[in-house]
Amino acid sequence: MTAVWDAIFQAGFFSSDEVQVALVVGGVVAVVSGVVGVFAVLRGQSFAGHALADVGSTGGSGAFLVGAPPMWGFLVFSVAGAALMELIGIQRARGRDLATGIVLGGALGLSALFLYEDTTVHNTTGATMTVLFGSIFAISSSLTPWVVALSAISTAGVIVCYRPLLLASVHPDLAAAAGVPVRQIGAVFLGSLSVAVALSSITIGSILSTALLIGPAATAVRLARRPGLAMLWSALIAVVSVWLGVLLAYDSYTWPPKHQAWPASFFVVAVVFLFYLGADAGVSLRARLRRPAAGQVAGDGPAPAGVSG
């Protein structure tokens, strides 16, 4: 029994400071990503989330250039990117993708420049890897309080806007007719989204942050019938994915070829993906099991027209 335990949680896993920070920061960020992600999915803003991550990477790579912690770079640029999208007109259905695309294009150009400078002039090859793919084991423990505070802000934004956001996801006109300031609510949510994306970027990198934001949420909305439950599921799946990812990455150091740890981000995204596939299969199976019962219900309707078996 202990042998199994030791094989799973290898020597030093719980005593390592890096692992502890990774588990705490990763766990908190996962909760936020899971919660915010549900509305990102419902509002069809996964492209916006991905774009914000790319915009954030401009800040992350810029921060390396000036020697600042990348988190602040991610955060400032992601939030500024959200503000810019809002200004250009993310609210209009068609304007939304356009605004996102315009901001994204501009930021990616800068990002390429900064990463080039990071790599060639400043000779920090690791910058590219850290910005794009994250380095969860290299997060400074002094950032932990900040991560927690920013997570609280992002979650608070979603909680404050919870009911109006749900109403708007049923139909925007319904929300507007009920007196919801739809535009302002959307702006607050975009702010929450940008903070969540920045946090997600420092843990698993800007490229993969969308996976943590959208994957658990997309899985959860298929599983749960209630919005609160969907958020709980989403947060749970995200946390389990991140923690499993951290564990597997730590263990992979002893896998062959020896002494070449696999990136945690890979494992996180892999677990997220497996959750999605599992849920998809589960939902299909459930539907198939229920179908005979549904046929009986249809039979007592007023229209006797052909009920297929």
């Binding site: 009911r163 109006p164 909305v221």
Partner: protein, 297 residues
């Protein structure tokens, strides 16, 4: 040649002209104009609705029905004119709807995402306090109220189903319950019958007529097809070419009145108990402008 029309008196469950005049109008539109660019969609539209009246807003595709309802809701600002709502609740210039509880709304063509993690009862509950910030705590009285509304629209059977997985007609009922739970005095429905088969449509119409009658909720319902509404409509607002005529059905659905509205000869015919508005005989190649017969596809 004006064929006799079924007037609203002989319909069961309505009170037609026999209704006691309640005095103050619930809603009054004064010369509302709406222009998008150089396209004038509504032109001097004026009519009034009293409490408990069932009003049909009839017009073909693009006639401006949705636009008119959005103007009443305060979602669309009129280019000129005014919307007055019960005792001084004037819309004003800002265009922000402030009188939410007074007006309920069921938008056109809502097809909800099957992945929306909301049960039918959650959507109805959002009608109580969906505009408020925060998560909101469940309470027994709220749950009871939601149950009551679900029962009123015969939606109890699928109350716990995912709303996006319900049929169009079932979603329609859920949205009606959502609109009603805020206790509106005026209920606006945009083409609620468009996606329903004959039976389901008739059910919805009867339900609404009952609400109008029993709870004195005024109903303004848009449709491009007036026949299912004829038995229950107290009044009709007929839209064509951006202009509107309103009145009792037998005052409006007439060859002379509608020809004037369309600005070209049209004819009102009654065929096998159905009212058809067709292009006048003088211009036989004009298309049917509003056929009573249901399209047989």
């Amino acid at each position: 040649m004006v064929p006799p029309l079924r007037s609203s008196e002989d319909a069961p469950g309505t009170y037609g002209e026999g209704a006691p005049p309640t005095g103050a109008d619930l809603l009054r539109l004064d010369d509302v104009n709406v222009r998008f660019g150089d396209r004038q969609v509504l032109r001097d539209v004026a009519f009034a609705i009293e409490p408990g009246q069932f009003v049909g807003l009839i017009g073909s595709n693009g006639a401006g029905k949705t636009t008119l309802l959005r103007v009443i809701l305060g979602l669309q600002r009129p280019t000129s004119g005014a919307v007055h709502l019960a005792a001084g609740h004037e819309l004003g210039g800002a265009g922000r709807p402030r009188r939410a509880p007074l007006v309920g709304y069921v938008p056109q063509k809502v097809m909800l995402d099957p992945d929306l993690p909301l049960r039918a009862r959650d959507v109805v509950a959002l009608g109580i306090d969906g505009r408020r910030p925060g998560i909101g705590l469940p309470s027994r009285s709220r749950l009871a109220l939601v149950d009551r509304l679900l029962e009123q629209v015969s939606a109890t059977r699928f109350a716990d189903s995912r709303v996006g997985e319900l049929s169009g007609g079932e979603q329609q009922r859920v949205l009606i319950a959502h609109a009603l739970i805020g206790r509106p005095r005026l209920l606006l429905l945009d083409e609620p019958l468009a996606n329903l088969d004959l039976n389901a449509g008739q059910d919805v119409v009867n339900l609404l007529a009952r609400l109008a009658h029993e709870q004195q909720i005024a109903i303004l319902l848009s449709a491009h097809e007036m026949n299912p509404l004829l038995p229950v409509m107290d009044r009709v607002v007929y839209l064509a070419g951006g202009r509107a005529v309103s009145g009792r059905t037998d005052e409006v659905i007439r060859t002379d009145v509608l020809s004037g509205l369309y600005g070209r000869p049209v004819e009102v015919l009654e065929v096998q108990g159905r009212v058809l508005v067709v292009a006048g005989l003088e211009t036989p190649d004009l298309p049917v402008v509003s056929a009573g017969a249901r399209a047989t596809r």
